[in-house]
Symmetry: C2
Subunit: 331 residues, 2 copies
């Protein structure tokens, strides 16, 4: 049976919501879950939930890496942190995947140090799955790496295409390079050089795509550096929250019948749900030799449960093997 | 009376919507408008509108720089383009401001070449005014300059603060540096070095702000390089459009009473209107020695009219003088 390790101490409302998510996952999915963190705390919380006892194991880790801590230093110093211990289990193949909603930088750093990257890959990238009107797409890198080279971007493209094919089930997916214009002459040196690499790579490359086309689904895979990817992700969240608040204010202000307000908000909630990371269950860290899922810091129990589901999919579809194959096709 | 030149040939639906916008502005505002472009076409279109004849002048320009053309080359080659002719009028002080919804790169290039930058400023930046729940904010640079140095970012901060104070009327506005985390250690070399400059500048600097705080109004002025700024702007547009489409689909799907759907969409439209650039009437190109407003390529007649209003404000408030003063206070 697939075995998934969960960082019980990671996330804004950890360990409570992580334990609750694990409990739910144990009832729904066919897998073993290892909760990594402070054993006594976890045990106490677990007892309050409804869970399948034969499916959940606790692995003690005495330290916690907090959200604001510098990534490299904290990973080096806190050898018994839940992130380090969980990653070590993954490295030793005691588990098939590791999920954390904790300090993203620390997760990326620990994964890169302990698991190393896949053959031929220099840097890992976070894949962010997002919906468009017609299909799910993936953006990579969502913020793992900000010292990006053109070759990193090319590899992100290859990894994203594998994910799109084997996890999202897209046939013949396309990859686009996020830029400020479609023309070849546009953009920074980084994207201009990456474009040249993509063009001769043999990957299904459709050229530059502008940010206005991110949510139209023009490309199945959107490639960008980690700084830009992080900004895209968070500015979308920021705007979605602000417009939700605007909407509520607008509806109150106009004194429309209550029924209208309720209907509006429920429709709006459906949109929020579509873009809500808790539905997708976290973002895969692609390019490391192991399966790591980064969940949102604000994850609730449902998001954690869905992250377990995402981890199971990741294992079942042998994604890393496909990534290595895809890389070997690159010219 | 204030005299504003309008690039009649710039924008997705030019010259028609520009001429219509000019006609409306001539009825509403106390200013002279010079429509720059192909005289015969403009004349024909103008005759179809309701306008104040004593307020509108046509200045012939035989060439047009199209949207996709490379900026520097087209400005150099097309000396009689509407952008070049309008900018020349501004340089010669025949007009007080110039507005274009055309090729942004060409407008920035022509402005920098002909007007030069203000004393002490190396690069111009596009200021994007956007709403938050409580107040209007400004982001700079929206895409004028992608070869950005830390000093450029510092100057953007000073220019943004002047705009916030003298045009948006904010008291004691704050400036934040757009980054992927709040900590000093986060981000690219560019933003790390810029942070140091800001910290000793004496400007009202609140440190790094994350993209999730863009629409919360945490900073009155958000500073970023032109590549990132362009992405922020366009990804917001993309998301707003996609969620509007989602909403329509959601409402149809759920077979809710028609009244609910209408109410929802009208509230949603109020949000769209809030973020709609046609309400703000274009973005100022800050840092050049002259008043240039860049309107959205998709501008309608109302957006053009509002751009004329923005240009009048720009002139009245002596913004460029204030920018030079603000720069002189920087440590």
């Amino acid at each position: 049976m697939i075995k998934v390790a969960l960082d019980a101490m990671g996330g804004d409302r950890a360990p409570r919501v992580v334990v609750e998510g694990a409990a739910r996952a144990s009832k729904e999915f066919d897998c073993h879950i290892v909760l990594v963190g402070k054993e006594r705390n976890i045990k106490k919380l677990l007892e309050k939930t409804d869970y399948s006892a034969e499916k959940i194991i606790i692995k003690n880790a005495s330290e916690v890496i907090n959200m604001g801590e510098p990534a490299a230093t904290s990973v080096r110093r806190k050898k018994d942190s839940s992130i380090s211990v969980g990653m070590e289990m993954l490295k030793n193949k005691e588990v098939d995947a590791f999920i954390s909603a904790g300090n993203t930088g620390a997760v990326v750093c620990a994964a890169t140090l302990k698991l190393r990257t896949l053959p031929g890959i220099e840097r890992a990238g976070i894949g962010i799955v997002f919906p468009t009107l017609t299909k799910p797409c993936i953006m990579i890198d969502g913020g793992a790496n900000i010292d990006t080279t053109p070759l990193h971007l090319l590899h992100y493209g290859a990894m994203g295409l594998s994910y799109s094919k084997y996890i999202l089930g897209m046939e013949n997916p396309t990859v686009g390079l996020l830029n400020i214009g479609q023309e070849e002459s546009k953009g920074t040196e980084l994207v201009k050089e990456a474009r040249q690499l993509f063009e001769k790579s043999g990957l299904n490359f459709i050229g530059n795509i502008e940010a206005r086309d991110v949510y139209t689904g023009k490309a199945d895979v959107v490639v960008c550096d980690g700084f830009v990817g992080n900004i895209v992700l968070k500015v979308t969240e920021s705007f979605a929250e602000a417009s939700s608040a605007f909407l509520k204010k607008e509806l109150t202000k106009s004194l429309l019948p209550k029924i209208g307000a309720i209907l509006s908000l429920s429709a709006y909630r459906a949109i929020r749900k579509k873009i809500d990371s808790s539905e997708y269950g976290g973002a895969p860290l692609l390019g490391v030799d192991g399966r790591v899922i980064i969940a949102h810091g604000a994850s609730n129990a449902k998001a954690i449960k869905n992250a377990v589901r995402a981890a199971i999919e990741y294992v079942k579809h042998k994604l890393n093997q496909h990534i290595v194959e895809e890389l070997n096709t690159i010219q």
